[in-house]
Every structure is written in C-alpha cells, then in structure tokens.
C-alpha cells in the first residue's frame, strides 16, 4: 500500500515538473519555478511524513488481558514504560476470559489479530496442546535475574507448560465478615463446612475446581492424597458427599466480583474468590472483612504468544514479553495489585502500594505468613479430569 502510494506520488511529481518547466520556459519567470519547487518539496515532505506516520502506526500491538484493576496494573508496570522506551503503541483488548475459544476461531479463520495474550495456566496448557500457542525457550527468550540466574531457575516450578510465560501468582482463598463470626474468627479453611460454629450462607465457585479439593481436605484426607483420590469415582463421590452437607447454605458464584458484593451486603458470612478481589474489598473499600489464607489454592496467570504470527510481529511480541517479565517489571506490578510476582528475584523487591501507600508484602498470597497451608493447582490433573468431574459436579448441583 505504502509503496504504491509513493510510486504514484513520484509519478505525479514528474508530471508536475515537466508541465511546470514548460510553463516556466514559456513565461521565463524564475520565481514561479522556485515557488513550484517549494510546493513540490512540501508535497514530498508531507508525503514522506504520512509515509513515516503510516509505518509508525503499524508499530502497534494488541495485548489481551482481563480488564479492571488487573489491566491497570499491567498498564502502569509494563505498557507505559514499554511504549516510552520503544514508541510501540499497545492496544489493550479485554477478552482474556474467552481467549481460548477466540484464538481457536481466529486460527480456523486464518486471521490472527492478537500479539500477546494473558491467560491462566490451565488454558495456557490447553492452547499449547492444541498447537495454538508458541513454544517458549524460557532461558533464551526471557531475561535473566539481575544476579545472572537463568529465567528457568528464577521462575522455577511456575513454568508449568512449554508455552507459558509466568507472570503472577494469585489464589482462590476465603474472606469472612468480622461482624458475623462471633468472638472466634475462623482460622481453618474447614470453617466453610462448619455451619454450627459459623451459621449463615457461604459463597462458593459454581464449579468443581477448588471446591472438590477443599471438601476432601476437610473430610480428613491428607493433602498429598487429594488429587490421586479425585481420580477415582469413590473419591469424587466422597468430595460431593462432603459438599452435600452444606449444599443448602451455599450461594454459587460464577463471576469473581460476586463474593465481594455478597460479603459487602452481609448476604454471606464467608466466601471464596480471588485474593486480589478481597484485597480491594478490605483495603480500598474498607469493608469489615478479613482474609482466611488457610488452604488457599495457588493459580498462575501469564503470557502466551499465539502461533502463526508473522516473523516481525512475533519478534516484537517476544521483545515485549522479555521486557514485561524481567525482575523489576514483575515487582513493579505488585505496587498496583495484590498478586505475587512469579520470579523469586522479584519477591525481594515488592514495595508499597502506589496509591494506598501500604506495604504490599503481607498481602501477597506467597508471603510466608500467608502460605503455611497451600496448594498449587494441579494442572495436569485438571486437564485430564475437568470434563468428567465438572459434568458430575453440575449434575450434582442440579439435583
């Protein structure tokens, strides 16, 4: 497109030159010629400018994320400094929630409009398996820690898939109303199942994930046995039987914002959600709610790069990701949101909240004080058993 238009401009220029030159020799007026030269120069300059602007305009990339406070933290910590350094415009698309089906549809249509996509680890593995996400050589493509530690060591176990570039750790955890739990605030995740000590409704995710683990844990199963047990029909039935004991006391949520709203309205005494949502409820909206970190289930969120990008776009996506996941950038993000950085080297740099001015370290799910009893989501397990357990769970729910 650009090439064609510049060729056209050159053609036009030749025509103007010849015409005007004839005219000049006919009139023998030098200053007219000069004016024409000036005119053509401006034409050329504007053409060149618009050509350049066109190229600069092409220097943009679409990054897909979740929106809200989370996108804001990325904007402040990654996008703004990256644009300042490179001049690349970043378009923020907020459809991460439907990233997997959309990437699949884009791939089938052969029209890829996304450059970098923010997804949870589970969907990242699925995209990797379907061949929709690019495989990453973490040590080669990502930055080392400041002390020279390789990226694969710095991220450690959080690299759960060949395509996944870890970014933050968040957790499914429980918050409770201070004024509804009496004088003995809960200290254990099993308070969820203890309707005698803590009467009232609780809100739980409308899905198997997180609930099945907690049910077995509170039914006395050792943590190491939970996933092997959930592979068997008997284990699944045991978890559902445990959930049956509180079924009538549960409000099932499907959006992360539900539990904070239900807690704020006093509709539930306790409820599970993402830890960042509870942080916002407690610290930003000053609601009488506390965190129950016990039994929290870690989940990861990170980047993937879709397969099938043109070489230039892929190089730019990799360049961006290398920048956005270096030690300092990951630490910077925690100034804006209470999700923990996935690099060991970033954890040391976690600072105060940029607007509230409070220390962020105690609000990180990975803080030692909060992580005495935790799970890391078993992605391999859920990849195999999600369909099966989910349909069983939904059938149980509908009874």
């Amino acid at each position: 497109m650009q090439a064609i238009s510049s060729a056209l401009i050159a053609d036009e220029y030749k025509k103007i030159c010849c015409l005007t030159r004839n005219a000049i020799f006919f009139h023998k007026e030098r200053d007219v010629w000069e004016n024409v030269m000036k005119f053509t120069k401006t034409v050329f300059a504007t053409a060149a400018l618009s050509l350049f602007a066109g190229l600069a305009l092409a220097e943009e990339m679409t990054i897909v994320s979740w929106g809200g406070a989370y996108s804001k933290s990325q904007l402040k910590a990654y996008h703004e400094p990256y644009t300042a350094n490179t001049g690349v415009t970043i378009i923020n698309d907020e459809s991460a929630g439907t990233a997997v089906p959309k990437l699949r549809a884009m791939n089938e249509a052969g029209n890829l409009t996304w450059d970098v996509v923010d997804v949870e680890a589970g969907p990242a593995m699925q995209l990797c398996d379907e061949g929709l996400a690019m495989e990453i050589d973490h040590d080669f493509m990502l930055a080392d820690a400041p002390d020279g530690t390789l990226a694969s060591v710095d991220f450690g176990d959080f690299i759960v898939s060949d395509c996944f570039i870890p970014q933050i750790v968040y957790s499914y955890t429980v918050g409770y109303r201070n004024d509804m739990v009496g004088s003995t605030p809960p200290t254990s995740i099993c308070a969820l199942f203890d309707t005698e000590t803590y009467p009232g409704k609780r809100s739980l995710k409308k899905g198997a994930l997180s609930n099945m683990e907690w049910a077995l844990l509170c039914d006395g199963v050792a943590k190491a046995d939970i996933y092997p047990m959930l592979e068997t029909a008997a284990g699944q039935d045991q978890a559902l039987a445990k959930l049956d004991t509180i079924k009538d006391d549960v409000i099932w949520w499907s959006a992360g914002a539900d539990t904070p709203q239900l807690l704020a309205d006093g509709e539930v005494v306790m409820g599970s959600t993402f830890n960042g949502r509870l942080f916002a409820l407690i610290e930003e909206q000053n609601q009488p709610v506390s965190m129950l970190w016990d039994g929290q289930i870690y989940d990861l969120d990170g980047w993937i790069i879709p397969t099938g990008l043109s070489p230039e776009r892929q190089a730019r996506a990799l360049h961006y990701v290398r920048f956005a996941t270096d030690t300092q950038r990951l630490a910077d993000q925690s100034k804006w949101i209470s999700y923990g950085p996935t690099r060991a080297s970033s954890a040391l740099l976690v600072d105060k909240h940029a607007e509230l001015g409070i220390d962020m370290a105690p609000h990180m799910p990975t803080d030692p004080a909060n992580s005495t009893n935790t799970f890391l989501m078993n992605y391999a397990f859920w990849a195999d058993y999600k369909d099966d357990i989910e349909s069983k769970f939904q059938a149980w729910l509908a009874q």
Binding site: D237, A255, Q261, E267, A395, A398
Partner: protein, 424 residues
Amino acid sequence: MSYTDDNGPMMTMDGKPLKRSLAIALRRQKVRALLLISPLLIFVLFTFLFPIASMLFRSVENDIVSEILPKTVVALHSWDAESGELPDEIVYSAFAGDLQRAAKAKDHTRVGLRLNYEKSGMASLFKKTARQAKKWDLEADTSFKAKLIETHKGWADIAVWQTLKTHSSRYTSGYFLNSIDMRKTVSGPEFQPEDRQILVTLFKRTLIISLVITMSCILLSYPVAWLLANLPMRQANLLMILVLLPFWTSLLVRTSAWKVMLQQQGVINDLLVALGMIEETGRLALINNQLGTVIAMTHILLPFMILPMYSVMQSIPPTYLRAAKSLGATNWTAFWRIYFPQSVPGIGAGSILVFILSIGYYITPEIVGGNKGVFISNRIAYHIFQSMNWGLAAALGTILLVAVLILYWAYDKIVGIDNVKLGG
C-alpha cells in the same frame, strides 16, 4: 397503446405479444429488486447462515481421529472390541507409526483432547506417550505392544482401545447421544451413569421456565399495553417512555439491580421485615433459584411482549366496543367476545418473541439462577468457552434450534402464523 389482431393474442406497439412483454417487464422488475436486496442477502448469507450451518455441522463431524491416526483406524477394523482381549501387534505397530508422525507434527495433543471428552485421562496418555514415541525406531523395533504398555500402562487397558475404535468414524452420532445423556459404546448407545445425567433435565427445565416466563409476561403486559393504546396521547407517551427506559439500559445492569432487590439482605426482604410481615430469621429466598430467574427474565423480556401487543391494540377501533355495549353487552362480555379476540395476534407475536428469546438466554440465569435456575444455554456456553467441546455444544444448539422450529410449526398449525402481527 396496443391493438388486437383478430385471431392472435394481444400485441404491444412494437409487435411483441403483450403477455410476453409483460412477463419481461415483470422479470426485469424482479431482477432489479433482487439486485437491490442482494447486498443484504449476501451479508446475511455470509455472516449468519453460513456460520450457523458450519457450526451445526460440527455436531456430527469427527474426522480428527481418522486424520491423525489413519493406519490405526484401519488396523482396528479387524479387532473385535467386544472380545475382551487387547488388539494384536499389528494395531500397536500401526499406532506407534501414527503416533510418531503425529508427535513430530505436534498433532497428538489434539487427538488426545478429543478423546478425553469421552474418557478421562486420554489427554495425558497421548501427551506422555508421544514424548517417548519420537525416539522410537520404526524399522528396527519389533514389539510395539510391549513397548507401548511399558511406556504407559494405559495401553494395556481395553477401555482405551474401545474408546479409540468407537470414536474413529469420520461422522459420529456421539455428540447427539451425549446431548440426551447417552453415550456411544462398543456395544451400541447406552445411558450415561445416573450421576452424570444432566442435559435432559436442563432441556426440560429450560422449556418449562421459558413457558412460565412467557405466561407471566402476557399477564403483566396485557393491562399495560391496553393502557398505552387507550390513554390520551400525553399520558400514553409518558408510559411508553417508562416501558422503553429499561429496554435501553444494559442487560447486566438490570440483572445486577435485581440481585440488590431480591437477595436476603436486599430491598424487598428489608421492607417486609420492617413492615413486620416476615420474621428476621425467615427472610425469603427470592434469588439464586428458579424464582429469581423467572422474576428477572420476565422483567427483562417485558418490552418484547408489550410492544407487539400495543401495536395490535392500537389498531382495534374503539367503536366496536361501544357498538357491543350499545347492543346490550356487559363490560366483561364486550371485552371477552369483542376486544380480546382482536388482540390475540399481538399476544401471539409477543409470546413467540419472548419464548424464543428466553430459551436462548444464558447471562441472566447464570447470574440470578443459582444451581436450579440455569438453562441449557448455560451448558452450551460452558462447552464453547470452558471445556471447548464444540461438537457437543453444536449438538445441543441444533436440538434447541429444532425444538424452536417444531414449536413454531405447531404454533402455525394451531393458531396460524397469519394471525401474528408485529405492527398495526
């Protein structure tokens, strides 16, 4: 201008038969009309009909297994799945070849994901085995049966091979069977275990709740539409704005507002407690159940009922009612025998709109429906967005579409589609 030949047909001025000339003119007109609507036609074809057809096709399409594991599928033909014995070496070595090729092309995970919908664990079985498969030497190695079983004990499980064989055909009825809580097995279709049966329940529930919603919309809309049609212009306009205002508000905002109204610590319960009508401990459960879905969706779909009713009622001449009364009818008889029959086309149009919209709804039931007030569309959304089982989603969608078409056909037979009016 034309003249008649005494024996021949009527001719135009230029000597052609009038009939043909008219036909040509008519055809030209038709072509012109077709050309005029062709942009819309093409647009609808490419953005609506074609995508829907291709989505529906997914409900029977199943070429992934036979494409990625072609030799295995052929080799499995000679294996009797019900024999209770593992397939022999030919199948295993064909499979080893297929898997190695698939692993190099990175296709193996796709077939693993596909089969995992049918049997849990297939995804990781394929992933783990393929990692080893890349190293095999197909020429030199002989016993792939032992090799595969050594790599993963899953290959010694007959059920794995049965799943592979059952779901290797290019077209499958499996997704449709799944949609009605059945499944395809080696010995033919059978019901799912009881603790996994959910979809038929959801289909029934969707139809019943949608009917309830349609009925309550009719009951609530009829008086409003009547008022709209009979009030003086000024008041009617004001009322119309009140009807349309929620129509222009975001669906999510309205649904969330119902949450605030209906929850146990919500406005309605607070009011009832303050008035002493219910006890503090006996707050009503108005939301997160079927009642919540009915209330919120009735409210959201009301304008779709009111507007067609209104436009029909507006065209009923008030003189008919006056004439009936002057002939001695009571108010009720005049309404029931004269006015109501004339307003039925509006009710019909509104009901079709509301019913069809409501069986496809999923956001509102998801937010206010709790565990018992969700629809089949919530499962479709789940299979599109979460489990990525698009085949099953397509089968569910096809069934829903066919159900609507059948209901439409029944409606046409009973009431007659000509009796439906969307406008005066």
